[in-house]
């Protein structure tokens, strides 16, 4: 079975849908046509640019170039995680997000490349870059929910946390309910994703492979591997980020330092 090739003309025909959307927006005064136009142009420009960049990186076989791209993608994810909570830590939210996002993505990507996927060489950009990209998507989600869960709720939980401190509990015991709630919330999207896979939705990777002509069972095997990796990475990122965030609010006398949160 050969993949069907798309031509620019085919995509232009599909773009008629966007023109219809814009016409509806103008006709019904929904006022999203401007945003729609900008977003459509951005989407095309960004993806074409990424296509050329990836073609260049895949052809080059330079581990350094691959590493640089992985680092750049991770830093963008760190920034997204750091800006999501309403509250800001005195040392900056990125100080919590950086080690967790980078550590978890490197750990899970290397684990998958060295054990399950095993390309030659193992750092082949054709496998490493898409894998890191999809992992970062899940890590970003989990880490940002966990971080916001701690930073945006700790003020409201102050009385409950300090009540335990006043009774002589350690900081870990006193903050455990907040930590558990934040980590559980961060795991919801990825658990939903697994539970819905194949029944409610066909996951994106699998859909892409099917459209490109892959055998359904091969596509399914890849999707299962990916969902396992995404869940593992999300859990590590959520736990690491939540614990690191809580640790930033503690001082040497086991006090809850809300003055370090803005």
């Amino acid at each position: 079975m050969t993949p069907l090739t798309l031509h620019a003309g085919d995509i232009a025909i599909a773009a008629i849908l966007l023109v219809v959307d814009a016409a509806l927006s103008i006709g019904l005064r929904l006022r999203f046509h401007r945003a729609l136009a900008i977003a459509s142009v951005r989407m095309v420009v960004q993806l074409v640019a990424v296509g050329y960049l990836l073609r260049y990186v895949f052809a080059g076989h330079s581990p350094w170039l691959t590493a640089a791209l992985v680092l750049a993608m991770s830093l963008v994810a760190v920034r997204e995680v750091a800006v999501r909570p309403v509250r800001r830590l005195a040392g900056g939210n990125a100080a919590v997000a950086l080690p967790n996002v980078l550590g978890v993505v490197l750990l899970t990507a290397c684990f998958a490349l060295l054990t399950a996927i095993r390309p030659h060489p193992w750092y082949d950009a054709r496998y490493a870059i898409p894998l890191v990209g999809i992992l970062l998507g899940s890590i970003l989600n989990a880490a940002s929910i966990a971080l916001a869960g701690v930073l945006d709720n700790v003020r409201q939980q102050r009385d409950a946390i300090e009540a335990q401190l006043m009774l002589g509990a350690g900081f870990g015991t006193a903050t455990a309910p907040l930590l558990r709630r934040s980590i559980r919330a961060a795991m919801v999207p990825v658990i939903n994703q697994m539970a819905a896979a194949g029944v409610i939705t066909l996951p994106g990777t699998m859909t892409g492979q099917l459209l490109a002509g892959a055998d359904p069972l091969d596509a399914v095997k890849y999707q299962i591997l990916l969902l396992i990796l995404l869940t593992g990475a999300s859990c590590l990122a959520a736990v690491g980020t939540a614990y690191a965030a809580v640790a930033k609010l503690r001082d040497s006398r086991d006090r809850l330092r809300l003055d370090l949160l803005r």
């Binding site: 300090e162 009540a163 335990q164 006043m166 009774l167 002589g168 006398r253 006090r255």
Partner: protein
């Protein structure tokens, strides 16, 4: 078990220097916002501050913070609750003890099985006191413990705390009721605005 407080200060109030002998109660009165709560939180080591606290011959700084807070129990004006039901906040192994205290403080027994949201402000204040007394602190810091209570319950709280004082517990009792300060305190100080303690 005498308490020495020396030069305790933060950006909000102080410096405070005073002594409370063992088994005595220092009553502190003063207007809202004058720094009474700030002082109690500093003694319990809950906020960053300067100064020295020595209790029963032990420098507070030589103890880990949780060990110090087990020795010096603070009952705040606004109590915090971390579990769903009232009973979950009390050690199940010592149910007989907290049931006895609840009876003395006129807290209905059925309340322990219910949600914490069902407890009134006054009930929560007494529940928080029971929780603190179970830990048997040698220094008890009370922040307006009867602010939301009727006269009968207020008397019950005063009786329970005076039993502890008689048994050797040292107490600092913050209240804005001068009559109560006279009833419970062996000594009294007044917090002036700007965080200055005066006789």
């Amino acid at each position: 078990m005498t308490l020495f407080v020396e030069g305790l200060r933060s950006g909000l109030a102080g410096p405070f220097t005073f002594t409370v002998p063992q088994g005595q109660c220092l009553a502190i009165t003063g207007a809202s916002g004058s720094g009474k709560t700030v002082l109690l939180r500093m003694i319990a080591d809950l906020d960053p501050h300067e100064g020295k606290v020595v209790f029963a011959g032990t420098d507070r700084a030589s103890l880990p913070a949780p060990a110090w807070r087990r020795l010096a129990g603070l009952v705040p004006a606004r109590s915090g609750w971390w579990a769903d039901t009232v009973g979950e906040h009390f050690p199940s192994a010592r149910e007989a003890e907290w049931q006895a205290l609840a009876a003395e403080l006129l807290v209905p027994k059925a309340l322990f099985a219910r949600s914490i949201e069902d407890a009134s402000t006054g009930e929560r204040q007494r529940l928080a006191l029971i929780r603190a007394l179970l830990a048997a602190p040698r220094l008890l810091l009370l922040d307006e413990p009867t602010a939301s209570l009727d006269p009968v319950s207020t008397r019950a709280v005063e009786t329970v705390v005076s039993q502890r004082i008689a048994a050797g517990t040292t107490v600092i009792w913050v209240t804005h009721d001068a009559a109560q300060a006279g009833r419970v305190g062996h000594m009294a100080l007044q917090m002036r605005s700007g965080g200055v303690l005066a006789p």
